[in-house]
Symmetry: C2
Subunit: 762 residues, 2 copies
């Protein structure tokens, strides 16, 4: 059927709910895209998660005489133009009524402010949940090591804090007992449960489950981050809170605005970077982002960040996840190693995306996909086995990154800071470059091993049936590489400060190389290579350091990394996963660069039977019902007559079915031979004929049309920017065919030498 | 003519070049809008400024067989869809050729990087110019007061710095002699010259003139800022540098991308806020901003900022104009005064916009407009008279703002910091709230007077024939109000710390109120009220302070101010000026909320003569020439036949004239009776008839069409998002009329109860 003509809104796939979650954590950010039309299955998928906006809610969607007209079935693309028109109508009505009475005026004002109130609530809820997750994950991470005798709910730090011991012998505080002291074993098993629970509870209570499992997953030590799931959690909050306000409950386009802002709030709490969060939402989530949304997203992101800060889960009053403060400026020559890190980041990004996609495809196509729990078990076991011996993989990834970013002070006691101190040359707080001590060398070896392990284990971890983000593992890989390079350059400068390249800026006894900065630049490079973020990446990093000084190195690395990675493969990890899963997402970032015309893409193709059409004033109820039963298209063009083929409008299948059913029930004299009129004025009927059915009210009189000679690049542009579901194709004023979003996506896949049927909409 | 049918690209106005510059400084940022179609006269206006991309350059615009086809006349709206298509074609060609030879590959790579190179150059040039302007303006400001005996090119600070005197008696350094010591008088006269020179040199060398006059204007002491002109200067750099690269020289759409980035660089150097600059460019300059541009703008902004920093015009190695560091957190209760400041900012913004627009309209319509030099003279004289007696208006506005933002330290010797010290309760650097000394009271009075003066003088200054920005004066007004309120609250807290509202957070001897923060919040509020900026405003302020701590107060004030100001009048100052000058800018931020249809807007109207059309295969050269001579429309729809009125395509007047002229000259047998064919295949002609003219190549086969029933809100959306010049209107497949951007703008003006003919395109 699909080959013969057009067919919209029938993207019912065989993918199970589990598959939907597979990338939900990491790339849900895409599915809340703002004014682009990427949401097909997600609308349905999303609602089936929390069970709150299912079909029953959908039914009272419009306050129109005929319930059901103008609503969507599950798994349908929403029509942005229509949704926005409806919201404008609603707004217009409220505004005009507001002049009539005080009550209506209050209603109008409260309607205008409901958006802000919603943002406030989202910010508060997302911030609180993030705080809860942080605290619980922290506690559970430590629970792997031991338990606090003074109270099991304290984590290691709080436990020892209460015992009033000093910082230096914190690790030796008496109240804290490690598991090896109490019982043997460790807590990774929780993760397996988490994978299990996710499957058991899918389709409902996503928010709660996500929140709980995220705690488990983050604390488990798997190579994954929490920012993706936090975005998902924030979007759940947004979706649930939308139900409090009619304005958002009843309009799919408005709701997407809210979800967009919620995504920004999610990133904001994941990193404590509200501006970066908004830019992430702008850069990664959606191509088209109305300015009103920008401002509201910023508000939600800020509220979330400050809520999180007032909860203070890290116990340091800091907003950001990794607070760094460097003392030394960088030198222009250091751009060379920074660009090297950028190249490494780009290569790693491209390698990771290819391997991960290949592995995920294998999982989809082979038996492996049938045992998600087993997979999680095995990966967790291997991770645990490989990670436990090495202290840098044993600690939580966030801690690892923090330690790598850290600029060694005089009092730092970690292995990474075990330098040979020469107190003669020390002036105040400024430490000169020093020779590395044995601790640093040990740390280097361990870090190199950790790097190799992280690189490979992340490929298998991301995409499993566990809520997972990719920021933290990517940053960890980059931070390790950066720290290694940083220490290498530092030692080179220390032992060879007489070399020409160091002359003038790195003499003996000067503090010129900051390995922590290299770690940070490396983290940015790898994150950029994997996600292809640019501005938001640099801004997030800027918010972490709080100094404009280091933007140039970060930018150089991010830019190099993006160029290198793009040269190998155009897609970022999220795009790659979207394509792997066949979501109908019309990529807005890439230019459509082929020289095909609308006539090459439209249906019917040359060998197909002609387009199914409805005439405006000559078809009977029976004729139309036959068409509805014999085809599955979700809409039909209405023409003047079969002969002229001049386009009048477009009518949706769903509206047609509802209207005919309703008329047959409630309107007298409507039988199978009644003629359906889509015209404005109907001719007087002979007295004997059955009464006619007027359906002009459900006819869309302004369908979008393009000519058959329109280049596809322009058609793609129109679909993207206006958020269309379909577009009719005419030639010299005559209706020729139809192009749906699905046709456009298939065509793009075809041109990219991918099998359109197996890849899209599997 | 205009009333009878459609007419595009004929916005020739009687406005003189001076009028164009009138707001060029302040709102050029709008005219470089990115993918929105706001550029009509600016394209021409801009090119006439620097005399580099006039018609002669336009002529070799396309590498097509027929020179001239596909180019624009001056004062025409560019067609975004066509420009973008052309760029894609060019890109496709280079890419496909790159596989053929190494040389072509190098060309392809260099083409890809030319955009980045261009951004780099813009950043470097804009940063250098900004540095030059800062240094010169600083020097000239001080020149008003005196001269450095050690070398006249040193400003006051550098002069005294060189003399190795300590900071405290800096004002008493010997090398610096004030004019009152040397000669009497002051340098405001320079500004009048600047106004004069601008007029004398208009149309050429804008960049140089702007740079010089900006120095004069900023140093003159008039109530104006430099950020608007700096944006203009940066755009001039961008435009000039575009000529180095074919890619940008030959494509109007690509060039606008560059100008957009240049605007970001301009704001970046004005405030040292690169991220804020990019967001400003995003929020204020353009509705639609491709992501590639975002990243490039960021790059240009950063390069510009760092170039400026390496020039170090302020002598403090700081990137930002006003560096502030506050020590104390704010209390939640302080949000009340912050919101009060927001209300003040909103009221002031609305008041300023109304008064300023009223005054500018008066200037346009009365004799006043004929004496711009006299006006500048008078305003300068009044400013000088009023400003000189008060030390807070005598100093440069930037210095004033710096001083108001400043948190009084123990060593600050300025009047504003003349508190009664009680050294018993001082602990370390932390100063408690203290009783105000006589100096503070004097300062309060002077500031109150300065506030009143600034409020009124700015209304008359902005819009004069002087390059002027509005950021600094707005911020000054807000900062004064904020500081006044801040000191009031501080003294209230000091004398009444036993009141319930202060209990718990502001006990005796505590440092709880920071008047500098109030000044900053007030500045943000007033700036927000005038410009209606939101996110970019907060981010710029965030970059100034460098701490996320103070974002919430800033945001609260900015939000309140915007709401208050919006409630009084929807337009920001830039929009108001654009409307005042009748520029064809399709406002992207406001929703079109009227319920009219395409048929109400399209031409011909009911009483008009029918639409001028061309048939595809029955008109002779003479017929077409008659149409061209009798109408002034810049394009004509081509239909199948007069009877059927089915649309085939759209042909541009300019292309038609050039093609016919060319054919008459070069093609044998083309006479007035030759039939013009727009069809693909032409019928065999009888041997006696004159040879035919085939013009399918100049026919646009994919004109945009909407049906007559399409709501105007959707039509406006299409025009905005796709950047159309015109759109054809059909009914049941038959051509009915045409809607041009001008029609849309006129319609909007009409619905807003404004006279469409007198206001738009005067």
């Amino acid at each position: 059927m699909d080959q013969k003509g057009f067919r919209r809104g029938s993207f019912h796939s065989s993918t199970s709910d589990e598959d939907m979650l597979e990338i939900a954590g990491a790339s849900l950010d895409f599915f809340v895209a703002d004014d682009d039309p990427p949401l097909d299955r997600e609308v349905g998928g999303f609602s089936s998660y929390n069970g709150m906006n299912g079909t029953s809610t959908m039914m009272d969607f419009l306050e129109e005489p005929l319930p059901g007209v103008g609503t969507y079935e599950d798994f349908n693309t929403i029509d942005w133009v229509r949704e926005k028109s409806r919201d404008r109508d609603r707004h217009r009505e409220i505004t005009s009524r507001s002049k009539e009475s005080t009550w209506a005026l209050i209603h109008s004002v409260s309607d205008a402010f409901s958006g802000w109130l919603l943002m406030l609530l989202i910010g508060l809820l997302a911030g609180s949940l993030a705080g809860l997750i942080d605290i619980s994950a922290h506690w559970m991470t430590d629970l792997k090591e031991g338990v606090c005798l003074a109270g099991f709910w304290f984590n290691h730090e709080h436990c020892c804090w209460k015992s009033h011991t000093t910082f230096t012998d914190r690790d030796q505080c008496l109240e804290w007992r490690s598991w090896s002291q109490l019982i043997l074993g460790h807590g990774e098993i929780k993760t397996i449960l988490s994978g299990f629970i996710i499957r058991g509870y899918l389709g409902k209570w996503t928010l709660i489950i996500k929140t709980i499992t995220l705690v488990l997953a983050v604390s488990s030590g798997l190579s994954l981050g929490k920012e993706g799931p936090l975005v998902h959690v924030a979007c759940c909050c947004g979706n649930i809170l939308c139900h409090l306000f009619t304005k958002y409950r009843k309009n799919e386009a408005k709701r997407r605005e809210v979800l967009s802002a919620a995504a920004a709030a999610g990133v904001s709490v994941a990193f404590g970077a509200p501006i970066g969060g908004v830019l992430f939402s702008l850069e990664e989530v959606s191509y088209y982002f109305p300015l009103k949304t920008l401002w509201r997203s910023f508000f939600a992101a800020l509220v979330a960040a400050f809520t999180l800060r007032s909860i203070n889960p890290f116990g340091n009053s800091r907003l950001v996840l990794f607070y760094v403060e460097f003392h030394m400026p960088w030198h222009l020559l250091e751009l060379v190693p920074f660009i090297l890190l950028g190249i490494f980041g780009g290569l790693w990004g491209a390698f990771f995306i290819r391997s991960n996609i290949a592995w995920c495809r294998r999982r989809k196509t082979t038996k492996l996909g049938r045992y998600p729990v087993l997979e999680v078990l095995v990966v967790t076991a291997i991770t645990a086995l490989l990670a436990f011996p090495n202290e840098y993989t044993r600690m939580s990834t966030s801690e690892l990154i923090s330690e790598l970013f850290n600029d060694c002070g005089i009092l730092d006691s970690s292995k990474l800071c075990e330098y040979v101190n020469d107190f003669n040359s020390t002036k105040g707080d400024d430490l000169p470059d020093r020779a590395a001590g044995p601790g640093v060398y040990t740390a280097m070896w361990q870090l190199a091993l950790a790097l190799i392990m992280k690189v490979f284990i992340t490929i298998f971890t991301f995409g499993m049936k566990v809520p997972s983000g990719l920021f933290i593992p990517s940053m960890a890989v980059g931070a390790i590489a950066g720290r290694l390079l940083g220490v290498a350059v530092e030692q080179l400068a220390f032992y060879h400060h007489d070399w020409a390249i160091f002359s003038g800026w790195c003499s003996q006894g000067a503090d010129c190389i900051t390995p922590g900065l290299y770690a940070m630049v490396g983290a940015a490079a790898c994150l950029g290579g994997v996600t292809r973020m640019t501005v938001s990446l640099v801004v997030i990093m800027f918010e972490l350091t709080g100094g404009l000084e280091y933007i140039v190195p970060l930018m150089a690395a991010a830019m190099t990394s993006k160029w290198v990675a793009d040269a190998i493969g155009r897609e970022g990890i999220y795009d790659a996963h979207i394509r792997l899963n066949g979501y109908p997402f019309l990529e807005a970032k890439e230019e459509f660069s082929h020289k095909t015309l609308a006539m090459d893409v439209m249906r019917p193709r040359r060998s197909d039977p002609p387009l199914t059409i409805i005439t405006q004033d000559s078809m009977t109820v029976e004729d139309v019902e036959t068409i509805i039963n014999e085809t599955t298209y979700s809409g039909y063009p209405v023409v003047v007559s079969r002969e002229s083929q001049r386009l009048v409008g477009f009518v949706l299948r769903r509206d047609l079915i509802i209207s005919i059913e309703n008329a047959r029930k409630k309107q007298d004299g409507i039988v199978s031979t009644s003629v359906i009129y889509f015209t404005d004025h109907s001719p007087p009927l002979p007295p004997s004929s059955p009464s006619m059915l007027k359906l002009r009210s459900i006819l869309d009189l302004s369908p979008f049309t393009v000519t058959d000679q329109t280049p596809m690049e322009i058609v793609v542009d129109i679909f993207r920017k206006l958020g269309l579901r379909q577009c009719l194709v005419t030639h010299n004023g005559k209706l020729l065919g139809i192009i749906t979003k699905k046709d456009v996506l298939k065509h793009i896949a075809q041109l990219a030498n991918q099998d359109p049927d197996s890849i899209l909409f599997n």
